[in-house]
Amino acid sequence: MAISKTEIEKLAKLARLSFSDEELERFTAEFDEIIAFADTINQSIEGGTDQIRSVGARMVSFDDLRPDEVMPSLPSEKILSNVEGYNGFFSLERSKK
C-alpha cells in the first residue's frame, strides 16, 4: 500500500472534510491506485518526475515577467455577485464549535 487509512484521515481533517468509515476505506483504496499509477509514469521517465521539472518545463526569464502596472479591478458588486455579502464584505456565519 502506498498510502494508509490514517494518512487519508489526516488529509480529510486538513481539508475540513468528514467521511464515514466506509468512505474512508474506499478512498484509501482509490488513492492507492492513483498513486500507483503516478508511480508508473515516474518510473517510465529516466530520472523521474524531478527530471521533467528541471529539463522539460519551459522557464520564463526576468524580462518576460509582468510589468508592475495597475489594471482596473472588478466592481465589488461583481466580486460579491455569487456570495452572501454584507456592506461590501464577504460574510460567513461562524460555526458554533
Partner: protein, 472 residues
C-alpha cells in the same frame, strides 16, 4: 538555573509595488472593502496568476542588501491550509527554491545574525470577527510580501531588537517597503527555545506570532524566556506551540497548536512557470543599490570625523543622509552642516516618520550656501540657526535674509569696545562671575548680542570678557 536563549526571527515585509504579486489590482492601503479585487486575487476558478516583475526585483534587492546568494532559478509553491483569509485554500509562496539564501546582518558588536532565506509570497485577506459573523475584505489578498528567515543566532532580547531594527532600516534604505510595524507592513514572528550553556542540542521551541513594534520584540523575548525558564526549573517540559504576546500584561500566552510544516503539503504551483534571472540582471540590481546605513555610519565617523552619535542620527534616514551629502558637495563643512541638521532642522521634526520623509522646503544647495557663510565666519552660529529657521519656514534662499552689508561682521576692535561697554554697564554681573556665579556672564552676552543684532562672535566675546573679568 541559567539558560542560553536560542532565538530566530521570521519577518514579513509588504513590498511597495504598485500592483499585487499575481494581478494588476492596486496595492493601495485602505479603500472600500473588496474594491481592489479581481478573479485572480479572489481565487476564482480558471483565473491565472502572473508574477509581477517588480516583486522579484525588490526581493533580489533585499537579498543583495542582506549579503545573500541569489538563486538564478526559482519557482512558486502552493502552501495549503483552510482558512477564510485565503480564498483559494492555499497561499502561493516558495518552499524549496527561495529567491535568496545564506545572508547575514551584522550587529554593532560585530556579531553576524545569519539569514537563512528570503522568499516571495502573497498576503492574505483581512478578517473582521463580529456578532458571530466573519466579514472578509480581500483588498490585501495578493499584496506582495517577502519573508526573511533568520538563523537561530540571536541570543538575547537586545540582539532580537537590534536585528529587527537593522533589518527595518536596511529595507527602508533600499526603498522596497516603508516597514511600518504599527500598520502591519512589517511583522515579526519570534522563535525561541532555551538550553543549558554549552549544550549543543536545541530545546523545544515556541513561536510568538505577529509582533508589531520593536520594543515589543525585546519584551516578548524576555517574557517568553522567563516563562520557559520557570517551566524548566520546575522540572516541566516546553510544549511546541504558537504563542501571542499581550502588550497590556507583558505576557505570552498560547494561541493554537502548531501544525507541522508538512501539513501544508507544499507542491510546485502548476499555474506559474519557473523563472530564471540572469547574472547580468543581478549585477544590474546590485549596482543600483544605495550605500547602506551602516557603511555610511562607518564612513561618516572614520572619513569625515563626525562624532558617532551625530553620524548615527544622519545616516539613519536615507533622505537626511542624501541631503547632508548634497550639502557637502555644495562646499559646506562637515561639522557645521551636521550640527545644523541635527540641532535645527531636526527640531522641526518630532517623529521618526517626519525625519524619514525629510520634507524640507530648501535644497541642499541652498543649505550649503548658508553653511558656507558660517564656515567662513561671516556669520556666527546663532545667526546661522535663526536664518535657517526662516529659510525652512519660507523655502527662500539665504540672501533673502542676510544682506551683504550684514556680512561685514564685527571687527575685532569693535568687538573689544563692545565688550568693554558690556563690562562697564554690568558691574553686578562682573562681581557675580568673580564670586563663582559663572552663569552671570550671560548677562553680558545678552548685552552684546542686543547691540549687534546677534552678529557678534560670541566665542571671541567670551574670551575678551573673561580677560577683563580676570578669569581668563
Amino acid at each position: 538555573m541559567n539558560y542560553e536563549i536560542v532565538c530566530g526571527i521570521e519577518t514579513h515585509i509588504e513590498l511597495a509595488t504598485r500592483t499585487k504579486i499575481f494581478c494588476g489590482c492596486t496595492t493601495e492601503f485602505g479603500g472600500e472593502p473588496n474594491t481592489h479585487c479581481c478573479p485572480v486575487c479572489t481565487g476564482q476558478p480558471g483565473s491565472l496568476p502572473i508574477l509581477n516583475q517588480k516583486v522579484v526585483e525588490y526581493a533580489i534587492r533585499a537579498g543583495l542588501a542582506l549579503n545573500c546568494k541569489i538563486n538564478t532559478r526559482s519557482h512558486m509553491d502552493r502552501k495549503n491550509y483552510v482558512y477564510p483569509d485565503l480564498p483559494k485554500a492555499y497561499q502561493i509562496s516558495q518552499y524549496d527554491e527561495p529567491l535568496c539564501e545564506n545572508g547575514y546582518i551584522e550587529l554593532d558588536s560585530g556579531k553576524r545574525i545569519g539569514i537563512t532565506r528570503i522568499h516571495i509570497e502573497e498576503d492574505a485577506g483581512k478578517l473582521i470577527h463580529e456578532n458571530g459573523y466573519t466579514y472578509i475584505d480581500y483588498n490585501r489578498s495578493g499584496v506582495p510580501l517577502i519573508e526573511i528567515v533568520s538563523e537561530p543566532d540571536i541570543s538575547s532580547a537586545e540582539e532580537a531588537r537590534e536585528y529587527a531594527e537593522k533589518l527595518q532600516l536596511i529595507m527602508r534604505y533600499i526603498g522596497i517597503s516603508d516597514c511600518k510595524m504599527q500598520e502591519g507592513s512589517m511583522r515579526c514572528d519570534v522563535n525561541l527555545s532555551l538550553r543549558k550553556p554549552g549544550d549543543p542540542n536545541f530545546g523545544v521551541r515556541t513561536e510568538i506570532k505577529n509582533i508589531n513594534s520593536l520594543s515589543f520584540i525585546q519584551k516578548a523575548v524576555m517574557a517568553e524566556a522567563e516563562r520557559q525558564a520557570d517551566i524548566l526549573d520546575a522540572g516541566g517540559t516546553i510544549v511546541q506551540q504558537t504563542m501571542r504576546y499581550d502588550e497590556a500584561t507583558n505576557s505570552v500566552a498560547p494561541m493554537r497548536d502548531k501544525e507541522n510544516s508538512d501539513d501544508y503539503r507544499y507542491f510546485p504551483d502548476p499555474d506559474i512557470l519557473r523563472f530564471c534571472i540572469d547574472e547580468d540582471k543581478i549585477e544590474e540590481i546590485r549596482a543600483s543599490l544605495p550605500e547602506l546605513p551602516f557603511d555610511k555610519l562607518r564612513r561618516y565617523v572614520n572619513d569625515l570625523g563626525l562624532p558617532e552619535a551625530t553620524a548615527r542620527q544622519i545616516s539613519r534616514y536615507r533622505k537626511v543622509a542624501e541631503f547632508f551629502e548634497g550639502t557637502l558637495a555644495g562646499g559646506a563643512s562637515v561639522k557645521n552642516a551636521a550640527n545644523l541638521i541635527v540641532g535645527t532642522i531636526f527640531s522641526h521634526m518630532n517623529t521618526e516618520e517626519e525625519k524619514e520623509l525629510f520634507a524640507v522646503r530648501i535644497s541642499a544647495d541652498q543649505f550649503a550656501e548658508l553653511v558656507r557663510l558660517l564656515d567662513e565666519k561671516k556669520i556666527n552660529y546663532g545667526v546661522a540657526q535663526g536664518t535657517l529657521q526662516k529659510m525652512l519656514e519660507s523655502g527662500k534662499s539665504v540672501d533673502e535674509f542676510i544682506k551683504p552689508e550684514d556680512l561685514a561682521g564685527i571687527s575685532d576692535e569693535e568687538l573689544e569696545s563692545l565688550c568693554r561697554e558690556a563690562f562697564d554697564a554690568n558691574p553686578k554681573a562682573v562681581a557675580d562671575v568673580r564670586n563663582g556665579k559663572d552663569k552671570a556672564i550671560n548677562v553680558m552676552f545678552g548685552f552684546i548680542m542686543k547691540k549687534t543684532g546677534g552678529k557678534a562672535d560670541i566665542r571671541k566675546a567670551e574670551a575678551l570678557l573673561r580677560k577683563m573679568i580676570g578669569h581668563d
